[in-house]
Amino acid sequence: MGITARDLFLIAPELALTVGATVVVLSGLVSRQRQLTLVLALLGLAVTFAFAIALWDNVHANGAQSAFNDSLIVDKFALYIKFLVAGTAALVLIASSEYAERFRPYGSEFTGLVLFSAAGLMLLAAAADLITIYVSLELATLPVVALAAFVRTRIAPIEAGVKYLLLSAVSSAFLLYGFAFLYGASGTMQVVGGSSGAPTIAQALGEGSPDVPFGGLAIMAGAILATAGFGFKLSMVPFQMWTPDVYEGAPTPVGAFLATASKAAAFAVVLRLFYEALGGSSADWSTLFAALAAITMTIGNLVAIVQSNVKRLLGYSAIAHAGYLLIGVAAVTAHGQETQDAAGISSVLFYLAGYAAMTLAAFFAVIVLTQRSGDERIEAMAGMGKRAPLAALALAVALLGLTGIPPTVGFMGKLFLFNAAVNSGLVWLAVVGAVNSVVSAYYYVGIIRTMYLREPAGDASPVAAAFSGRLTLWITVAAILVLGFWPGGLLEVARTAASGLVS
């Protein structure tokens, strides 16, 4: 029952990342050069990536595999999220290499904590029982608490850290209470079955055997409490209130990481839990998620209109986009035919990748645009079209993408999501989503107008971007446009990944 070599192979990506994080932190004792830190971190991520690709091949040949006595399930769905998390972490680290100057002398600790959190997110995507979900969720969360409070000269980051710590702890409490109900109701922690043949939650509930001591109501209560717990991580209304504060107060790269990698893994685990473990129960999760989706995107978009701080606005935009993604979750939990489910899941996976590209581009552009002045007001973006052409262009493309205007990946992603909703009979939800997209155009385009059509108030000198910053901007903008023109490739990968969950 111990750990076998096979277990270690199946967890190799996370293992490599953890080792990488430790090496990065230790390297800080020897040298404080940020180039060294960055190179070591990227090396760790490259090894992680290589292992994940090897696993993808392996899973392709042999099917999904479980490891560590069924604590972990390595399927293409999990691997897709792992690619996304590793890629996001790499981009965030490259983009923040200049920014990290202000973390001195703790630049290597900053990098190490990002890698630790990424390892937690990767585990989360592959977690197959409730305990593993909880522990890896906390591994993903706690480093971010420290990261949010990392800037020592100002008070806002510390407030962001306090807020994130307290609210994530509250959400963990809800999550655990929900898990306790689920455990009590089903008598098992297993979300996904594995080689040992231990009963899963779905099986325990489906059989309705006398071994299952509690009834449907306990499952209902457990699922709702767990949804509340996940709701914090997803920035879902009514648990969204921390998002703008933390995005605004935390260092910009941390906000970028939180908005993309964290969100992707959280959506992955929600899909897995509600599709695989609770999918068989008679409760109507689809209606619940549809209602939450509608409320979340509407509130996110409406409050975003009145914002004057760019990072805060991106926080509300993140809430709105959690709403769009929940459309996909609602479509999937409607449980139509398997092909429909696969289409729904793949639309969520596709949008997660596209959303990551757009949000990263926006945050990276904000890093460049605010680097010198530190002024994050939308007003301060006036004239940036001339002062920082590349960053302004990237922000414009990202914002158009977030609005959902073709030919960006945002348009294709929303198309797939709304399509999935319509196929699941949630036409009204697709309509609400479309109306919301139109509303969101108001504030997204407002920023673009400020950047290009208004003259700068004071300083009109060009804002230079470092090579690392320019590189990440080019990569993300290219991703937004390429995936917008040719979505087929990524969609195919997402379909394959989704089939891992369905079959």
Binding site: I131, Y134, E159, L166, A169, L176, Y177, A180, D211, M241
Partner: protein
């Protein structure tokens, strides 16, 4: 009347809700943290009671409780680090100015 699982569960629910009330109603971040610890304790109580009453996996509930306690300790440690940070940068903590629920 014998003691049933019900009693432990209701006790757990009561503590959880007192904790939730504290989280929502208290301004001081330290108090919010204490209330969260109450909520986590309620969870542990529930898990342990399940283990005692049901035939299945007597100890599995306790295993989670062990993890909850471990992670709660790590959380409180981090919280103290942030409090000290605040203490140094302001020469005194007024955590109550951080209105946690303001959105």
């Amino acid at each position: 009347m014998t003691l049933q699982l019900l009693h432990f569960q209701i006790l757990s629910a009561a503590i959880f809700c007192i904790g939730l009330y504290g989280v929502l109603a208290r301004r001081s971040a330290v108090l919010v943290l204490m209330s969260i610890e109450l909520m986590l304790n309620a969870v542990n109580l529930q898990l342990v009671a399940f283990g005692a009453y049901s035939g299945f996996g007597t100890s599995t509930g306790q295993v989670i409780a062990v993890f909850v306690i471990t992670i709660a300790a790590a959380e409180v440690g981090l919280a103290l680090a942030i409090v000290m940070r605040l203490f140094r940068s302001r020469g005194g903590v007024n955590l109550d100015e951080i209105d946690v629920m303001r959105g």
